[in-house]
C-alpha cells in the first residue's frame, strides 16, 4: 500500500491537550507511503467519518490509519466507514495515541514525539496490510441447553418459542433443578413449585423441545454453528414410550428406604422412583445400585405389576448424536459440603458445627424440603432426630462463604435473603417458636429485598445477631450454640432444637470436565467465565457457547431467569442468520512449507488445528499438513509462535508486518 491516509484525532481535549496534533499531522505526511495527513476534532463523529470517506475517494487512498483511541473503542466504526467508501475494511489501522500516549504523559513535547512514532508503526503495518475477506460458516439452526433447572428451562422455552428447535440435556431423572425443591421464594413468598411446574410441563410438551433426561453430554465436536454433540442416555430400565406414569411400580417396590436425592436425605424413596410427583418426564427410573433384580436377580415385582410392559431390566446406556448450532450451559450449583470430607485442601470444612454428626444440624436446602408442602413431612416442620416440632431454631449464614481460612472467599449472594425467608416460614409454621440468625452483614440489594429482611425482623420477630458461631454441641437433646454478638460485644449461648447452616454455593459437580469438553473457561472455584464482565456477560470465549444461571456465579431466581433470557436472545440472533460471519484475522498455515510436525495441534487452546493430507486433484497423496479450521480459530496466534518452520501466520497481523513495524523505529 502506498497511498495511505492518516487521520489524527484531537478527541476534543483528550489528545490535543497533551499532543500537538497539527505538528503530528505534518510529521505523518512525511512518512513514506503516506499520501495525505489531516487532523480533526472528533474523527469518530459523523463529519469526521465523512472526512475519511471523502479523502478515500479524492486521494484514491488504498489504506487508512486513524490516530486516536484504542482499537477496542472504534476500530469497528472506522472499518465500516472505509467499507462504505469502497475500501476493504481490513486495510484500516489504528494508532492509539490516547490511552498509550496523551492520557499517560504530561510533557507535551515528548508526548508529541511519541505520538509520531506510534503513527509511524501503524503506517508501516498498513503498508503491509492485505485485503481480507470475512469468514462465512453455515449454521445448524438448533440449540443445545445443558441443564434443566430454572435457567435452562427459561432459555429453552425462549429459543423454542422463537421458532428454533432445542435439545435439552438434564442429568437427573426429572427437569426442575434446585427450584423444584424449594418451598416458597423471596421476596414475595410465592410457592416455588406453583411457578415452576407449569414451565416444566411446557418444556415436556413443547413440539420444538427434545428432552433427554437422566442423560449427560459425553462429547462435543465441531465449532460455532456446527456442533456435533454426543449424549449419553443413562440406562433407566423403564421404556419411557411405553410407560404411562401410573405409579404401580414404585408403590409395589419393597425397597422403600433409600435416601431421596431430591429431599437431600430428609426423606426416603423406593428403588424405582420418580423424584417428585410433578416430575417431567413423569417416568420413573430404577436405581441400579439398589434394585434387588439388578443386583442379584431377585424381586422383579415392578415388572410383574406393570401393565404397560415398560420395565426393561436389560436396558443399557445409549449414545445419541445431535447436531446444533449453539449451546447454552445452565448447569447450576450445589452447596459447599460443610463436614469433614472436602474436595480440596484449601477447604477445611466446619467440624465445629457438627454437621453430619448431629442429626438436627442441617443445611438450607434440607430445610427447604422440611418446610415444603411437597416435602417428606408434608410441610410440617419436624426435626430429623425425633420428629419433634422445634421451638427454637438457629440459622447461621455465611457457612463457607467469605471465609479465606477454610471456605471460599466470595459472597454466595442469596443466603441473606433465603435465611430471612427461612426465619419467616418458620415463624408462620411454629407461632410460639423463636428464630435466631447469626450473620456477618446483611446483603439485601434488590427490588423489595431490604424491606423483606426488615419484615422478618420486625414483623416475624427473628432475633438477628451480628457475629459468628464458634461451636455447636449437644446436651440432653438440645443443641448448644455458642456465638458472639459483636454489636453488644457479648458472647451468646442459645439452646436450639434445630440449626440450619446457609452453606456457600459452589458450581455443580462435573463442571470442570464439562467446561473442558466445551472448551470454555472457568475460574479457580469452577464457575464458568464470561467473555467480558460488563459487555458480554452471557457469552463465553468460545464462539457459539453461552452461559446462564448459577454455573456462572451465585445467583437468585430472577437473576438466573434474566440471564437465561439474555443467553436465549443471543442464540436467537445467531440462529436467525443463514450463515455466520466471523472476523478474518485468524491463523493460516502455509501447506507448502508445513513440515507436518504438528507442534501446533496440541498447542492450540481452541482445538482449531487438525491433521490432514494434501492430495492432487486425482487423489494421489502428496504430503501431510496441519490445517486451521476457520470456524474454530479465535486468532490468538499461539500456533504462530510455536511453529518451527514458520508456516503458521496470523492474517492481518503477520510476522512480516511486525518486523516492518519494529524496523521502522530504528
Amino acid at each position: 500500500m502506498s497511498r495511505i491516509g492518516v487521520f489524527v484525532c484531537w478527541c476534543g481535549e483528550n489528545i490535543a491537550r497533551t499532543v500537538d496534533v497539527a505538528q503530528v499531522a505534518d510529521a505523518a505526511a512525511q512518512i513514506p507511503g503516506v499520501r495525505s495527513s489531516v487532523h480533526y476534532k472528533y474523527v469518530c463523529s459523523d463529519p469526521g467519518q465523512a472526512l475519511i470517506r471523502e479523502k478515500i475517494e479524492s486521494e484514491k487512498l488504498d489504506a487508512v490509519v486513524v490516530a486516536s483511541c484504542s482499537p477496542h473503542m472504534h476500530l469497528k466504526t472506522f472499518r465500516k466507514t472505509a467499507q462504505r467508501a469502497g475500501l476493504n475494511p481490513y486495510l484500516v489501522e489504528m494508532a492509539n495515541i490516547r490511552e498509550h500516549c496523551s492520557w499517560v504523559h504530561h510533557d507535551r513535547k515528548q508526548a508529541t514525539a511519541k505520538a509520531i512514532e506510534i503513527i509511524r508503526l501503524s503506517v508501516e503495518k498498513a503498508r503491509n496490510d492485505a485485503a481480507l475477506q470475512p469468514i462465512r460458516v453455515p449454521v445448524t439452526r438448533r440449540a443445545l441447553v445443558i441443564g434443566g433447572g430454572v435457567a435452562g428451562i427459561q432459555a429453552a422455552l425462549d429459543i423454542a418459542d422463537s421458532g428454533h428447535e432445542v435439545v435439552m440435556v438434564e442429568r437427573e431423572p426429572s427437569i426442575g433443578g434446585k427450584m423444584a425443591g424449594l418451598s416458597e421464594t423471596f421476596p414475595t413468598l410465592d410457592c416455588s413449585q406453583c411457578i415452576l411446574t407449569p414451565r416444566m410441563v411446557e418444556v415436556g410438551q413443547h413440539p420444538r423441545i427434545k428432552l433427554y433426561s437422566y442423560s449427560e453430554v459425553e462429547k462435543v465436536e465441531g465449532f460455532v454453528g456446527n456442533f456435533k454433540i454426543t449424549i449419553r442416555q443413562r440406562a433407566r430400565y423403564v421404556d419411557v414410550n411405553k410407560c404411562t406414569g401410573c405409579g404401580e411400580c414404585w408403590n409395589v417396590c419393597p425397597l422403600k428406604r433409600n435416601r431421596s436425592e431430591f429431599d437431600f436425605g430428609m426423606g426416603m424413596r423406593p428403588a424405582i422412583y420418580i423424584p417428585f410427583p410433578q416430575a417431567v418426564p413423569a417416568r420413573p427410573v430404577i436405581d441400579k445400585s439398589q434394585c434387588a433384580k439388578l443386583i442379584r436377580n431377585g424381586c422383579g415385582l415392578c415388572e410383574k405389576k406393570c401393565k404397560a410392559g415398560a420395565i426393561n431390566f436389560k436396558d443399557e446406556d445409549r449414545l445419541v448424536e445431535e447436531s446444533v448450532g449453539a449451546v447454552v450451559v445452565a448447569t447450576g450449583y450445589k452447596l459447599y459440603s460443610i463436614g469433614k470430607s472436602q474436595p480440596k485442601a484449601t477447604l477445611a470444612g466446619y467440624g465445629e458445627y457438627g454437621y453430619g454428626k448431629y442429626k438436627d444440624v442441617i443445611d438450607s436446602l434440607q430445610f427447604e424440603r422440611l418446610v415444603s408442602a411437597s416435602g417428606p413431612t408434608g410441610g410440617v416442620l419436624k426435626r430429623p432426630s425425633d420428629g419433634a416440632i422445634p421451638k427454637s431454631v438457629v440459622f447461621i449464614s455465611c457457612v463457607g462463604s467469605r471465609d479465606n481460612a477454610k471456605g471460599l472467599p466470595y459472597c454466595s449472594k442469596i443466603c441473606c435473603m433465603y435465611t430471612a425467608k427461612h426465619s419467616m416460614l418458620y415463624k408462620h409454621k411454629v407461632h410460639d417458636g423463636q428464630a435466631y440468625v447469626f450473620y456477618m452483614d446483611i446483603r439485601a440489594g434488590g427490588k423489595g429485598y431490604e424491606e423483606f429482611v426488615r419484615r422478618a425482623i420486625e414483623q416475624d420477630g427473628a432475633q438477628y445477631y451480628r457475629g459468628r458461631v464458634s461451636k455447636i454441641t449437644e446436651e440432653r437433646g438440645k443443641l448448644i450454640v455458642r456465638g458472639a454478638d459483636t454489636l453488644s460485644g457479648t458472647p451468646v449461648t442459645i439452646e436450639a432444637d434445630l440449626v440450619v447452616l446457609a452453606a456457600a454455593m459452589r458450581p455443580a459437580d462435573g463442571i470442570e470436565e464439562l467446561a473442558q469438553k466445551l472448551n470454555i473457561g472457568y475460574d479457580e472455584f469452577g464457575f464458568l467465565l464470561e467473555s467480558h464482565p460488563k459487555l458480554r456477560p452471557v457469552e463465553t470465549n468460545t464462539a457459539g457457547i453461552f452461559i446462564a444461571g448459577a454455573c456462572h456465579s451465585p445467583k437468585d431466581i430472577p437473576e438466573s431467569v434474566a440471564q437465561a433470557s439474555a443467553a436465549a436472545s443471543k442464540v436467537q440472533v445467531m440462529l436467525a442468520a443463514d450463515e455466520l460471519t466471523r472476523e478474518a484475522e485468524i491463523a493460516a498455515i502455509n501447506e507448502q512449507t508445513c513440515a507436518a510436525c504438528f507442534t501446533c495441534v496440541p498447542t492450540c487452546p481452541y482445538h482449531a488445528i487438525e491433521r490432514t493430507e494434501v492430495r492432487t486433484p486425482k487423489g494421489a497423496f502428496v504430503k501431510n499438513t496441519a490445517r486451521v479450521n476457520p470456524g474454530l480459530c479465535m486468532g490468538c496466534g499461539t500456533c504462530v509462535s510455536v511453529c518451527p518452520s514458520k508456516s503458521a501466520d496470523l492474517q492481518g497481523f503477520t510476522d512480516q508486518q511486525v518486523y516492518a513495524m519494529v524496523e521502522s523505529l530504528a
Partner: protein
Amino acid sequence: MRLGYYPGCALHGSSNDYEQSLRACLGKLEVEPEEIREWVCCGATAAHSLNHKLSIALPGRNLALAEQQGFEEMLAPCPLCSMQLLKASKLIKEDDGLRREISSIVEGEISGRVNVLNLIQVFQQVGLDRIKGAVKKPLTDLKPACYYGCLLVRPPEVVKFDDPEQPSSMEAIVNALGAMPVEWNFRTECCGAGMTMAKEETVLDLSHRILTDAQQHGANCLVTACPMCHVNLDMKQYDIERSYSVVIKLPVYYLSDLVGLALGISREALGIDRHFVT
C-alpha cells in the same frame, strides 16, 4: 529406630508422674526414648509474647541438638512443647534465610529434618494391632472421655494432626484397650492452661465445664495427653468442687496410664497413686 525424648519443663517438674507413666508404658512396648542431652526450654507461652525470634531460637536450639545427636524422631509429650518445636521447624523449612540466622544464633546447624511426635503418634507408630495384642487386662469398666485440649490438634497448619474440631485418634487407642470412649462435646475446648497463675477463676470455670460435660455424657474418667490439662483438671478438681459446691470426683488419667494399666502395669508403677483424684 532411635526415638529422641524432649521432656520439657513439665515432665521434669510438676508433672513428673507423666514421665513415670509414659516411661513405664513405652518400656513395656519396647520403646525406649532417649532424652536429648542439654535440652533447653521450648519458650512456652512467654517467649512468643515477648520476642518472635527468641520463640523460634529456643525450640530451634532443641531441634539442632536432636540433629547433632543423630535423632530423626523426637517425642515431645507436652503438646505445647511439640507445637512450639513443630512451628519452629515449619518456619525454618520455609525460609532459608531464617534457617541460617537461627542456626547461627543457636550455634548449631538446623535442617528441620527431625520429626516431632506427640504421645498419640508414638502409640500409632507402635501400632494399634500390636497394642491390642499386648493387652492383658482389658479396661472394660472404663468409659473415658478423651480430652485433647487446645494444642494437640491446633493450629492445624502447624501440627497437621487429626481433625482440629472432631478428632478421633485418642478414641481409637482407648478402644483398642477394651474401654468404651464416650461421645461428648468439650474434647478440644480450653482448660484455662497457664491462666492458673494469673486468674484462677477462669481456669476453675473452664475446667468445671469440661468435667461436668464429660460426666453428663456418661464418662467415668477423663483421659488426656497434656501435663497442663492434667494439672487443671486433676489437681484443681478439689478447688472446682469447692467453688461450685459440687461433687465431681472424676479421675483424670494420662493416655499412657490407660495403656499401661491395660498392659498389666500396676497403678504405683505408673504413678497413678500420686494423682489427686483417685
